[in-house]
Amino acid sequence: MTLLKHELKRNMKSLLIWALSIGILCGGCLLLYNTLEDSIAEMADAYSAMGAFSTALGMDKMNIGTMEGFYATEIGLMFALGGAMFAAMTGAAMISKEEEGHTSEFINTLPWGRGYIAGWKYGALVVLLLLFQVICLLFIVIGFAGAGEWPPVKEFVLYHGAQLLMQLEIGSVCFLISALSKRRQIGGALGFAMLLYVLDLLCRVLPDLENLKYVTPYYFSNAADIFTSGEIHMGMAFISLGVTVVSVAVAVTVYEKRDLVA
């Protein structure tokens, strides 16, 4: 518990910066929806004629001119990218920051053991991602309340559950990268989060690359898909869960076995 509290304190500033930025951005856009309704309706007409681009952003399924459609396409995209980047950055720094900051000799000579350290650090990552969701949701709910319209509850809950699962997967893969490296791989982690998004765009636009939907967690957690179908693709969600579990298990195993630099 001491280590969990320590990690939460160390990451609080970054959490607040990211969660407040994404939360205020999402909530603010929702608050502005009524004011911009006419312009958004014009945008919706323009987007609907953009073929593959509309498909990639889910605008072939939902109308951006409605509050629900606006949330599922525009806000959903901002939230997904922001959340993925936060998860990637936090996961990638969690273990390797000790060696980069020369604190690994301090923390690893406390009577904890490496498995314990890695376990609580991962626990801190999970708590941070949950807090990120809660803070963002707070602003999103305020945005909906201010706009005077509410999304369907079931789809809304499913979407945010899927987003949490996606953030956990990306965070866990980056946690594994962190366990393997002696330096914080922030650039690589952000690149990884973006690459998965590009794969999502590609598999939606190019039929030959359709199978990439099993690789990228953006696919099963896509807001437009969840809001239109009212469900999550469980097969893909289980793949995501499997990648998460395997990443954490490998990260702990590798961290327990490798040499640590001072």
Partner: protein, 278 residues
Amino acid sequence: MSSNAIEIKQLTKSYGKHRGVEEVSLNVAEGDIFGFLGPNGAGKSTTIRSMLGMLRFEQGEIILLGMDSRKQQKEILKYTGYMPSEAAFYPGMRARDVIRFAAEAREVECSEEANRLCELLEVDGAKKVEELSLGNRKKVSIVCAMQHCPRLLILDEPTSGLDPLMQEAFFKLLLEYNSRGTTVFLSSHVLSEVQRYCKNAAIIRQGRIIRTDTVENLSKSNLRRVKLWEDGQEQEFTYTGSMKELIGQLAGRNIEDLLIQEPTLDELFMHYYEKEGD
């Protein structure tokens, strides 16, 4: 039950193709203050970091406080205090928070001892670690290593960065802990501090232990660095032998000044190294 606090048997650790340490073996008795002497890159830190579980060694065995370092690392660390050569902490944390964090990790209430140590070493607990000089960070590190009154203290170059007064205070503390039963393993490249405070010592060079003995016996090398000024000329040489013979050899010469010093660590290493090769 072992009466040795440290038993290292045939420890071998390499970094790929690079040498770390080879077949290092040494024993440190409980209650000893043991000096571990060697120049930079000799393998002192590799040995220490293998003892503490930071490095996974390929051969050998390390028993600390009667426990196997591979199997009972957590238990060993409960009773061990470690002071690394470079004291680095988390930026943004205050010195007192670092000390409290280390105590909480050990699940021991030792605030009274921590306060006493902070007072003795003049640690400003309110300062953030990034505002502290190397010497002051070292002092925080000393408190973290000692506050829980460990059975074994492992110190890697502890005095680098400490001013002479603080060095004195530090060694006073070390002797106090030792008198209460703490075994001290002191890694250093400062010969004089090992000579002054340690009972036994080992010399490591190029990853191998050259010699392990009492400090008294190690110092009996009779090796001295002699500097003299004769007829306006300065001469310097190392001398091994009795002082009586040296004075006899110098008698009658026109010596203006004479300085007889203890050898540098390198000279002592070379002395033992050459002897090893004989």
